[in-house]
């Protein structure tokens, strides 16, 4: 009888420490998870800057433009070039106007890749200015070194 019992004991080894660890891991990942990652774009690696701080209040009516290394512009799931961007901007502005606001109330957030050409960013600003947009924000990654 004794010999038979031993394998049963082995199969029921104590699971408590493992479950403890697993719950701790789950708690860790749950706390750190951030669903508000919709702003990011895989094509964009932001430049670093020591001075930028995460904004305390969110900008009003943000229009987020992701500028990839080759100058391709991503706005709300569609991609544009400098020449076609005005179509996308007009669409955004239509939403803003529908809410009774002016283009001057909107904030254009430019998330430019660190190696993209500066001229591309300037052209984007020019196109946005043609649509009466005046507030721009250049986004950078906080460098804490």
């Amino acid at each position: 009888m004794r010999l038979k019992r031993k394998p049963v004991d082995l199969a029921e080894g104590d699971l408590t420490p493992m479950i403890d660890m697993t719950f701790q891991l789950i708690a860790f990942f749950m706390v750190l998870i951030n669903f508000a990652q919709t702003e990011a774009n895989d094509n964009v690696v932001l430049p670093n800057s020591q001075l930028v701080k995460p904004p305390e209040t969110a900008l009003t009516f943000p229009i987020i433009l992701h500028v990839a290394k080759d100058g391709q512009i991503f706005l709300g799931g569609d991609d544009y070039t400098v020449d076609t961007l005005r179509v996308g901007l007009r669409r955004e502005l239509a939403v803003i106007k529908a809410e009774g606001k002016e283009p001057g109330d909107a904030n254009v957030i430019i998330r430019g890749h660190k190696d993209t050409a500066t001229g591309k960013v300037q052209e984007i600003i020019q196109v946005a200015q043609e649509q009466q947009l005046t507030n721009f924000a250049l986004r950078a990654k906080e460098d804490r070194s």
Partner: protein
């Protein structure tokens, strides 16, 4: 006694398998969706429309001019503040900051529309990273944990042709 004994034994034999299955599924979900959050912030640029800009006629209000030129590869070739060259090495941005501190002085940062203005004029193919470094240099510096602000009004000059 006999009944009690058998009852306790049954309780301790509750099957853990299903719970562990679910727990591992949860764990895998969180591991897969996990992404380290990088803190981001903005430099604000106000670019009034051209018709407003032409209204400025006071010559003493002219902005400082910062010229960033690039070589063929898009790397920084030189920094010019007004007419003085600041070189193109790593310390150039520090020199730029030192010059801005000299110009702005140690006066308390001015609120609203007051204060000096700087215009960045960069070559078309200059890598964007350099512009952000220039922005960082002219808009302030870190003193310990405090950020000292220098110039808050930064704008771009007309884009140069190229590309």
């Amino acid at each position: 006694m006999k009944i009690r004994g058998s009852h306790e034994a049954e309780k301790s034999q509750l099957s853990m398998t299903s719970m562990i299955d679910v727990v591992f599924l949860l764990l895998i979900f969180f591991v897969m969706t996990f992404k380290i959050v990088e803190l981001e912030g903005d430099f604000s640029v106000r670019m009034p429309l051209a018709s407003d800009a032409s209204a400025v006629s006071d010559p003493t209000d002219l902005p400082l001019k910062l010229r960033l030129s690039a070589d063929a590869g898009g790397n920084l070739a030189s920094i010019m503040l007004n007419d003085s060259s600041l070189g193109n090495d790593d310390a150039a941005f520090d020199r730029l900051r030192a010059n801005i501190v000299d110009i702005v002085g140690t006066a308390a940062p001015m609120e609203g529309d007051e204060g000096p203005e700087i215009e960045i004029d960069a070559d078309y193919n200059l890598r964007y990273e350099n512009v952000i470094r220039a922005f960082t240099a002219v808009s302030g510096y870190k003193d310990g944990n405090q950020i000292v602000k220098l110039i808050e009004k930064v704008k771009f000059a007309k884009p140069r042709n190229g590309g």
